[in-house]
Amino acid sequence: MSENNFLELKNVCKYFGDVKAVDNISISIKRGELISFIGPSGCGKTTLLRTIGGFNKQDAGEIILDNEKIDTLPPEKRSTGMVFQNYALFPHMTVYDNVAYGLKQLKVSKKEQHNRIMTALSQVELDDYGDRKPKELSGGQQQRVAIARCLVLQPKVLLLDEPLSNLDANLRIALRKEIRKIKDKLDLTVIFVTHDQEEALSISDRIAVLNGGIIHQLDKSDKIYNYPSNKFVSTFVGQANFFTGYLQESEKGHYFDTGTIHFPVEKLKREHGEDLKIGEKTTVLVRPERIKINASSSLKGTITNIIYNGNFTRYFVDVENYELKVDVFNTHDSKKYKTDDKIGIELPTSPHIIRESMK
């Protein structure tokens, strides 16, 4: 029971003046799970994380960690470990002393302190860096010290506040693998706040997409990407083409009709599994990479703009005044198009139905 509700937030609210930074959020996190909070800046993700850590006092709601109600405890009494966005390493202490800091607050023998510090440092592969000052380390190393400083206290939950945002792109990718590795090795429960959707998709067991202080969707990565619950989630995570129209039926089968464009579809399913009825109005989502360029398609468009992205090329295609984004993987034999080329567009037959908004 408590394995599934290891960390439980119940109706947590946090206001700053009139702004509802966190608006009645409830969420259950499993033991050993890595969950990401993502959303644009100001969406409430960091506020929510800091509320769990005890740095904000929630205005309403409860936080329960491992069967203990922690929401009224000060941060030093909570068994949460926070890695701050700027790492917050104590600049006047060595790496060793930084990691020792938390242990010194406990009644732990010097010998055990030392063992635990060395273990924590080796877990983040910084065994030989104990004597350095934080400013003598690279960004990535500082980041790992911040993690070691938390790990040494064996927190029940590790809270990471945009821990990779100050690093360059390649290091970011390397470190997120590392964080995942450490998490798996020590079976940690981790909450990971980020605004980088790719980071969240790659690292998380589950993702919570936040905006305006509420969770728009809480799901596994592939569900978030392929089956976003509403328009906000679909545009925040990945690129999207939307078509609003009606499901229609002809002798050839079902097709989707926006008034200007129509394309064949299979049966479309609503969120809760029931079929979309003929003539019913809805909005569907099509990811750019799901669209194919196919000369034999009856749907024709004109290329208005081309962006080369290395592994794929994005074409902006005007189809009956719709500007569609079409991504084509760059293989050695993929055909190159130019602006103003007329091409045929083939839309997938199973687009995903989404809601316009949360409500």
Partner: protein
């Protein structure tokens, strides 16, 4: 290709620094005038004091005056008292500043704003005004003294060493407080949050994170307060009760015995610590922005826990209440016949022609000096930030050193240089203006340097690129951008010039008395009512300046 070649004489690269220096002759001339002025009005007076202490200028090189100093227990006492009182007031100021800064920066209540306001209040008064209040309260027939002797009998008064210490604590508190407050405000709050997250309570967090990180700010504050307290001149005169202190003894030596040589020796003992500390600050206490905010932090300062809040809150309340009491005493003293004895309301203390005259002189002198100090400082800031100037570092050091030289030393130096040929200037308004201008020129320079750092050099390059020459760029680009620091430097210089005393006291004549000195004389003669009234007017004027400063800050968005 040929057409795009730059005009030859404009971009002729010069290999030597002198060549580049003369490339823009008007700036070069301005620089030279500036350098001459700095040497004449800042460097020369200090050197003159140094030389005079060895008898040079009067006759042979001699160590007699140093012998005199070391043989008379009299001056040893003065040195000891000055150093001891400076150390004690510094330590107490630091303790109070840390407490109040903690409360102010980590709480957002009305109380915290009041603490902040009251803490800065002593800035608007001449530094000796607290001696006046202390005498009203604790003097020989002070309000509290009388009350206590009624209750317990016995004699008690504030005059003496501890009175000076107390007056110094209040007078120099704002300086220490401002530095410590800004250090604590700019600290990265996440570091304290991290400490709490790792299990340390707030007392431990303050001890092992907050204070160590504020160390450089605290040291800076301590040094500054120490130097100012060491050079304190007016409090010993009013409330010292005969206890000897360096600056006041030097003054008495000059004015009473006309013993300039021995006064110079005392001056040397005043300037050595100031010089050492100034060098230490400039070269060893480089702003180590350890633990300050870098980039987005997004976290608010850590709120105080109950026990910490209670402790620092209590201290803040007691001390700020005491500051307020000091001001209330002066205001009451101004508006009643004889405070504590005859408390009937009166305006008679304001009916004081000599006082008003000295006020006009002060306003005039301060106004002119402030404009000059800010203007010259700004020009210097620009030249030093952008132009190749040989010996730039040294010149900058000397200018800022002008701020650090104890006023007494500067005053004696001016007497030595300008009391004879070729410059007969003592007793004139001009000498007062010159003295104040060059003592405050560092204010304008600092304001200008910090502003110049914010102005991207590419802006001037753009102006050059668009066809404006160096002078046009200066007038059209730099000058408009320098208006806010000029305003800030001007108002700050005006405020401090109004209340400054220790240097100009050597240079006034009966016709050119300044209000701060006039009040000092009144206080020495225990004319409490008149002294309070003039002090009250001064406080109002300086407060008005401060209001103006805040207004300028708001309007321009430049933090001053």
């Amino acid at each position: 290709m040929e057409a795009t070649q730059p005009v030859k004489n404009q971009l002729k690269p010069s290999s030597t620094i002198w060549g580049r220096f003369w490339a823009e002759p008007w700036f070069a001339i301005a620089t030279i005038v500036l350098v001459v002025a700095i040497i004449l009005f800042i460097v020369a007076p200090v050197l003159a004091v140094l030389l005079k202490s060895f008898g040079i200028g009067t006759g042979q090189l001699t160590f007699d005056y140093y012998k005199d100093f070391f043989q008379a227990p009299y001056y040893w006492d003065a040195l000891l008292n000055s150093v001891l009182s400076a150390i004690i007031s510094t330590i107490i100021v630091l303790f109070l500043s840390i407490n109040i800064a903690l409360y102010v920066t980590r709480s957002k209540s009305f109380l915290s704003k009041s603490f902040q306001g009251i803490s800065l209040l002593p800035l608007v008064a001449p530094p000796f005004i607290f001696s006046l209040s202390l005498i009203i309260l604790f003097g020989r027939s002070g309000i509290v003294t009388d009350y206590i002797s009624h209750l317990f009998g016995g004699e008690f008064s504030i005059y003496g060493f501890w009175g000076v210490v107390l007056a110094q604590i209040i007078g120099y508190f704002p300086i220490g407080y401002m530095l410590i407050e800004s250090t604590m405000r700019n600290m990265n709050a996440d570091l304290e949050y991290a400490s709490q997250d790792l299990g340390a309570n707030q007392w431990k967090t303050i001890g092992s994170i907050t204070l160590p990180l504020a160390k450089s700010g605290i040291i800076k504050a301590g040094l500054l307060v120490f130097v100012m307290a060491l050079a304190d001149f007016s409090n010993p005169l009013i409330i010292g009760g005969g206890t000897r202190f360096l600056a006041s003894e030097a003054y008495l030596l000059v004015v009473g015995q006309h013993n300039l040589e021995l006064a110079a020796v005392l001056g040397v003992f005043l300037i050595i610590p100031s010089l050492l500390i100034f060098i230490f600050q400039t070269y060893f206490l480089k702003d180590s922005s350890v633990g300050t905010i870098s980039g987005e932090s997004g976290s608010y300062s850590v709120p105080l826990s109950k026990s910490v809040k209670f402790f620092v809150g209590t201290i803040s309340t007691i001390f700020t209440a005491f500051i307020l009491l000091m001001f209330i005493m002066v205001v009451l003293g101004a508006f009643v016949k004889i405070i504590g004895i005859n408390n009937t309301f009166t305006l008679e203390h304001f009916n004081n022609e000599t006082g008003w005259d000295s006020l006009y002189t002060s306003l005039f002198v301060s106004f002119v000096s402030a404009i000059l100090a800010a203007g010259i400082g700004i020009l210097q800031g620009f030249l030093f930030a952008r132009k190749p100037i040989p010996g730039k570092k040294l010149l900058e050091f000397l200018t800022l050193f002008g701020l650090a030289v104890p006023g007494t030393v500067m005053g004696i130096g001016y007497v030595l240089i300008f009391n004879g040929p070729p410059f007969f200037l003592t007793g004139t308004v001009m000498i007062l203006v010159l003295n104040m201008t060059f003592r405050k020129i560092g204010v304008g320079l600092e304001a200008a340097i910090s502003k110049m750092h914010q102005i991207d050099i590419s802006m001037e390059e753009a102006s050059n690129d668009l066809g404006a020459g160096p002078y046009k760029t200066f007038w059209k680009v730099i000058v408009p951008l320098m208006v806010p620091p000029f305003a800030a430097g001007f108002i700050y210089a005006l405020m401090t010039a109004m209340v400054s005393i220790s240097s100009v006291v050597f240079l006034i004549s009966p016709n050119t008395n300044l209000v701060a000195i006039y009040i000092l004389n009144l206080a020495e003669q225990a004319k409490i009512g008149l002294a309070s009234a003039m002090s009250f007017i001064m406080i109002v004027i300086v407060l008005a300046c401060l209001g103006l400063l805040k207004f300028v800050e708001k309007k321009t968005g430049v933090r001053i």
